[in-house]
């Protein structure tokens, strides 16, 4: 249910009940906030790319494909 709520896919009556519960329950409030913060950290993890060599290989593959295919203009 927490997942649905965060996704925004809980139907309105259920979402309302969920929010009413959260308002009165410190444990669930804390838990929900901690899930949100966890997602926040996940969304900011470093992201390494392919190296230059890898990229050059791929660009060469594209080039050669286009050249092979361009016989008919």
């Amino acid at each position: 249910m927490v997942t649905d709520y965060l996704d925004g896919t809980l139907p309105d009556p259920a979402a309302k009940r969920f929010e009413e519960h959260i308002a009165g329950c410190l444990g669930c409030q804390t838990y929900l906030n901690q899930i949100r913060r966890t997602i926040g950290v996940l969304s900011r993890l470093p992201r390494d790319g392919l190296g230059d060599e890898g990229r050059e290989t791929l660009l060469a593959a594209l080039r050669s494909r286009a050249n092979t295919g361009s016989a008919h203009g």
Binding site: T3, C28, Q34, R37, V41, D48, G54, R55, R65, N67
Partner: protein, 233 residues
């Protein structure tokens, strides 16, 4: 959360390019995608600037997702192979899903096959993938307090708006490494890479229900690991 993720800020939209790669890679609408058709046409024509932009934008996410199935070295191979397969298969792209989802589907197939081939040792966590939710122990399951918190989750010692330090990120990375494969793939695609749930279901070939359960368990496990680290001082 855009599909790119906040860390991806390449030099997109070079002079002369009618289409900004950023526009294309960030948008993933479920309706007809003229932008994708235009990209495919330009790739077929050999547009290396555009291709370099796609590689820069999508490879980080593809690498991280591949890491759910193979080690870091193999992940580079997998993503490289995936891009080559994308180029080779351009004529077969039908536009039923977005170009990015299609590229990810190709990558996942290669990653899984490579994972099986490399026969990674299965971490202990994988065995309990279909068991009860990791949250089970947080609540009383019976008695007069059934459904109530056994003890309240302790507040975390870092204030909410503080910058996330390297050690916190390392804890989260370690928690991701310990997740069963399918939970890890879902949480990486959803929360690290920002794909929406429909695309994740298409990429991993799972039902919406599966996706929800896997995501919930994965988030609960990573939260628990963070809680352990942040409360434990």
């Amino acid at each position: 959360m855009t599909a790119l993720g906040p860390a991806s800020r390449g030099s997109f939209g070079r002079a002369g390019a009618r289409l900004s790669t950023l526009d294309v890679v960030a948008a993933d609408p479920p309706v007809q995608r003229p932008a994708d058709a235009s990209i495919v046409a330009r790739l077929r024509a050999g547009d290396e600037t555009l291709f370099a932009g796609l590689i820069a934008a999508w490879s980080p996410g593809m690498l991280r997702t591949a890491r759910c199935y193979v080690d870091a070295y193999a992940a580079e191979d997998v993503v490289q192979e995936a891009w080559l397969a994308v180029i080779a298969g351009l004529d077969r792209f039908e536009g039923r899903s977005s170009l990015r989802t299609w590229a990810y589907q190709i990558m996942i197939k290669i990653a899984r096959a490579r994972g099986r081939r490399d026969a990674r040792s299965v971490p202990a966590g994988s065995l309990s993938e279909d068991g009860p939710s990791v949250d089970g122990g947080l609540f009383f399951s019976g008695g007069p307090y059934a459904g109530h918190w056994r003890s309240l989750p302790a507040p975390w010692r870092q204030p909410e708006d503080s910058a996330v330090d390297a050690e916190t990120r390392a804890q989260v990375e370690a928690a991701l490494d310990r997740l069963p494969e399918r939970q890890r793939a879902v949480i990486v695609l959803r929360d690290v890479e920002g794909h929406n749930s429909d695309d994740v279901c298409r990429i991993l070939q799972i039902t919406a229900q599966n996706q929800r359960v896997l995501l919930h368990r994965a988030r609960a496990a990573v939260r628990a690991a963070l809680a352990n680290y942040l409360e434990g001082r």
